[in-house]
């Protein structure tokens, strides 16, 4: 699911003024939303939204940008996310395995319909495998790592093909970001399988990026939604890993355009390293310095 930050920006980019935005929120909110809270969540990518704002923005986002997928499968994705992120859940692994078996049984039906339901179920099967990749990598479970990576890639690809199939045969509007997310997830399946020290100039990453057209898709997405700092940050990461100076400059400019907080290379988001700290961006940082791009390097 997109972050609350992205949802607020997407809603705002429809041309609403702040009073109009607040009036829309009033219609779906259980309690009124404070203007300052809304505005600070709009400005700050690192801001963690409170529960009320998160839920209200999600409802409003669903109203104006409804998910194309069937609600019952969306529910399964939500269920899995809660399960995967639960703390101190004694039977977590067993329960995930049970859910996975159900999903795979649905997908391997004798005559599968390549519809949006199939696509979202394949996406869920891919998510379950994807979430195991980093753990297997860090614990030296190489066979399981290869197995989960292969499975994640297979199901993300199946999800993508089913969506493409639906786009041709049914009049359903599917946003370009939906396809983009699957491409990014496939790339993430390659990246996360590698320890940080093996990512620079990696051939698997290179060949996937070349074959998937990921860089041009990222640029296209940023033209449509320039607030998407995550796309710009990942574009900068892969341009750095593949040592492409022009793309480094493009995505760095896109990143600081998306949000000026990224001018500070030590700007940190919860659960992620800053650009200054992450090995993936080292090559790009040299380009940023050598080309005298606007940047705050203090304390680096």
């Amino acid at each position: 699911m997109p972050s609350t930050y992205n949802k607020i920006h997407r809603l705002k980019s429809q041309g609403w003024t702040w009073p109009e935005f607040l009036a829309e929120l009033e219609q779906v909110a259980v309690h009124s939303i404070d203007e300052k809270t809304l505005y600070s969540n709009f400005r700050l990518p690192h801001r963690k939204p409170n529960k009320l704002l998160e839920e209200t923005i999600s409802q409003l986002h669903e109203k104006y940008f409804p998910s194309p997928f069937p609600k019952e499968v969306e529910g399964l994705i939500t269920l899995y996310n809660h399960l995967a992120n639960a703390k101190n859940y004694r039977t977590q692994e067993d329960d995930i395995e049970l859910l996975k078996r159900f999903v795979l049984a649905e997908l391997q039906h004798d005559n599968p319909q390549y519809d949006l339901r199939y696509s979202r179920l394949a996406w869920l099967a891919a998510n379950i495998a994807f979430d195991r990749i980093s753990y297997c990598r860090d614990n030296g479970l190489l066979e399981k790592l290869a197995e989960n990576q292969k499975s994640a890639l297979k199901w993300f690809q199946q999800a993508k093909q089913a969506i493409s199939h639906c786009q041709q045969s049914v009049e359903i509007k599917i946003e370009p970001f939906v396809i983009y997310k699957l491409t990014q997830n496939m790339l993430a399946s390659y990246l996360n399988a590698l320890p940080s020290s093996n990512r620079l100039d990696n051939n698997d990453l290179k060949s996937f990026i070349d074959s998937s057209d990921y860089i041009s898709e990222s640029k296209h997405m940023l033209e449509l939604e320039p607030f998407q700092w995550g796309i710009a940050r990942n574009g900068l990461r892969f341009s750095s890993l593949l040592k492409n100076a022009e793309d480094c400059e493009y995505f760095y400019r896109a990143l600081v355009t998306a949000n000026k907080h990224f001018l500070d290379i030590n700007y940190q988001l919860p659960g992620a390293l800053s650009i200054g700290e992450s090995d993936d961006f080292h090559w790009a940082l040299d380009i940023i310095r050598n080309r005298n791009l606007p940047v705050i390097l203090a304390n680096s």
Binding site: N85, W123, N139, S196, L273
Partner: protein
């Protein structure tokens, strides 16, 4: 009872309270400062034990939270 007598009885009461307080402290009881120092010395040991616990591999196969705490920069999946 004049003022002098009242003062003497108050003083006697104070001495009694002090005496009874001292008698309740056993010879083995650490003085408050010594006790505080002992507790401070125990704290790092407890913290070390907690650190050791948090460094143990998580039984969760997801492991995303663990990785982030260690400072990895993996990509998150998009739903």
């Amino acid at each position: 009872m004049n003022i002098k007598q009242r003062f003497i009885s108050l003083l006697a009461a104070l001495i009694f309270i002090l005496a009874s307080g001292c008698s309740s402290v056993t010879p083995d009881s650490p003085a408050p400062i010594a006790k505080q120092k002992k507790e401070q010395a125990q704290e790092p040991a407890q913290e070390q034990a907690q650190d050791a616990e948090s460094l143990n591999p998580s039984p969760s196969i997801n492991g995303m939270e663990e990785l982030k705490r260690k400072g990895s920069d993996d990509m998150e999946r998009l739903d």
